[in-house]
C-alpha cells in the first residue's frame, strides 16, 4: 500500500486539484488509489462476524468522507489523516448495528411488499390493522409478518441497506410547512430542545407528533404521505441515536 515518491507527488497534485475543482472523476481516482488502505483497515474488524465485503463498503464510505475533507495544504499524509475517519466509520457501524442479523432476500422482499398491504388495509379499516389481518391480506403466516417487520428495524442502522424509500423521503421534506416547523421549534426550545433539535426536520416532526402530540404511527404516516413502516424505521433510528448519545454522555 506504500506509494513511491512519484506516485505520492501525483496524488498530492490530484488532491490539490480536487480541493479546487471538486471534480467527481478526480475524486473517484483518489478513492480508488487508496482502497488498499480501506481494505486493510476493514480487515481489522473481520473477527466480529461480518463479511469482509460489507466491511469494505463501510470503510469505503469513510474513505470517501476523508477524501472530501482532506486539506492537502495542511502537511499531513493522507493516510495519516484518513485512518481515524475510516476506523471511526467502521466502529460506528458496529456500535449502531448492535445485534443486527443478516436478513434473507425473501424477508426483505416481504418487508417492502407489506408497506403497501398495511397502507391499503389501514385505509379500508379506518385504523391500524392487526398482525392477523396483515397476514391474511398478504397471504403469509403471522410469523412471516413479524419477521418482515423486525427486518425493517435491522435496516435502520445501515444506510447502505435501507430499502429504497427515496421517493418518499423527497416528498416528505417538501411537505413540512413553515407553520409546522415553527410549532416544533417553539415546543422544544423550552424542554428537551438540544436532544430533539439535533435531528433533521423530518425526524423532529415525527418525534414531536408521536411523543408530544400522541399521534399513532399510522396517523403520522397518513399526515406525511409516507408508509407506516417508513415512520417506524425513522422512529427506531432516531431513538437508537438518542440512546447511544445517552451512553456516550453517561
Amino acid at each position: 500500500m506504500a506509494f513511491d515518491g512519484k506516485e505520492r507527488d501525483e496524488l498530492r497534485r490530484k488532491f490539490l486539484d480536487y480541493a479546487e475543482t471538486r471534480d467527481r472523476a478526480l475524486r473517484d481516482e483518489l478513492i480508488t488509489a487508496h482502497m488498499g488502505l480501506a481494505e486493510y483497515l476493514a480487515r481489522r474488524f473481520t473477527n466480529r462476524g461480518e463479511p469482509l465485503d460489507d466491511l469494505v463498503q463501510v470503510a469505503a464510505l469513510g474513505l470517501l468522507k476523508a477524501v472530501d475533507r482532506f486539506d492537502p495544504e495542511r502537511g499531513l499524509e493522507f493516510s495519516t489523516y484518513a485512518t481515524p475517519t475510516i476506523v471511526g466509520e467502521l466502529k460506528r457501524h458496529f456500535r449502531d448495528k448492535g445485534w443486527a442479523v443478516r436478513v434473507p432476500r425473501r424477508v426483505q422482499e416481504l418487508h417492502l411488499r407489506l408497506a403497501g398491504v398495511v397502507g391499503q388495509l389501514s385505509q379500508e379499516l379506518g385504523r391500524s390493522p392487526t398482525i392477523g389481518e396483515i397476514a391474511q391480506a398478504a397471504a403469509v403466516s403471522e410469523e412471516e409478518v413479524l419477521e418482515a417487520i423486525e427486518a425493517g428495524h435491522a435496516y435502520r442502522f445501515t444506510s447502505l441497506d435501507a430499502p429504497s424509500g427515496n421517493d418518499e423521503e423527497l416528498s416528505l421534506s417538501a411537505e413540512l410547512g413553515a407553520e409546522d416547523q415553527g410549532l416544533i421549534d417553539s415546543e422544544h426550545r423550552v424542554t428537551l430542545s438540544p436532544l430533539i433539535a439535533q435531528f433533521p426536520p423530518r425526524e423532529r416532526m415525527i418525534l414531536h407528533l408521536r411523543f408530544f402530540e400522541g399521534m399513532t404511527q399510522s396517523e403520522i404516516a397518513a399526515r406525511l404521505g409516507i408508509s407506516q413502516m417508513h415512520v417506524s424505521r425513522l422512529l427506531a433510528r432516531a431513538l437508537a441515536q438518542l440512546r447511544s448519545q445517552a451512553e456516550d454522555d453517561g
Binding site: V118, R127, S128, P129, T130, I131, G132, I134, E142, E143, L146, I149, E150, H153, T191, L192, L195, R210, F211, F212, G214, T216, Q217, S218, Q228, S232, L235, A236, L239, L242, R243, A246, E247, D249, G250
Partner: protein, 104 residues
C-alpha cells in the same frame, strides 16, 4: 419476541410498534447509560384485551439497583403505553408496563 406475544392479544401494528418502543426504552432504563454485566428477565402476562410486561435486571457489577430514566424517556413511555412503573427492587431495577387494546 414481544411482537409475537402482542399479536396473540390481537394488537394492531401501531400497538405492536408502541410495545416494542416501550420495552426497548425500559430495558435501556434498567441498564442505564453505562455498560453493565448481568441479566434482564422479562415476563409477559396476557389477558384478553391487555398485555403486561414485567422486567427486572440482576447485575453483578455492583453499580446499583436504581433504574435510570431521563425526562425524554418518560415522555416517550407515556405516549406508548397505558401504565408504566419503574422501581428499585431488592435485587435490582424493575419495571412493569401495561398496554391495552383499543376497542375496534
Amino acid at each position: 419476541m414481544a411482537a409475537g406475544v402482542a399479536s396473540r392479544v390481537g394488537f394492531t401494528l401501531d400497538e405492536v410498534e408502541d410495545l416494542r418502543i416501550a420495552i426497548d426504552e425500559l430495558c435501556f432504563s434498567l441498564v442505564g447509560p453505562r455498560r453493565r454485566t448481568g441479566t434482564i428477565t422479562l415476563r409477559y402476562l396476557l389477558d384478553t384485551d391487555e398485555l403486561a410486561v414485567e422486567g427486572s435486571g440482576r447485575f453483578t457489577d455492583g453499580l446499583g439497583n436504581d433504574p435510570v430514566v431521563s425526562a425524554l424517556s418518560e415522555q416517550i413511555l407515556a405516549a406508548v403505553v397505558d401504565e408504566c412503573v419503574l422501581s428499585t427492587g431488592e435485587d435490582g431495577p424493575e419495571f412493569r408496563l401495561v398496554k391495552r387494546r383499543r376497542p375496534s
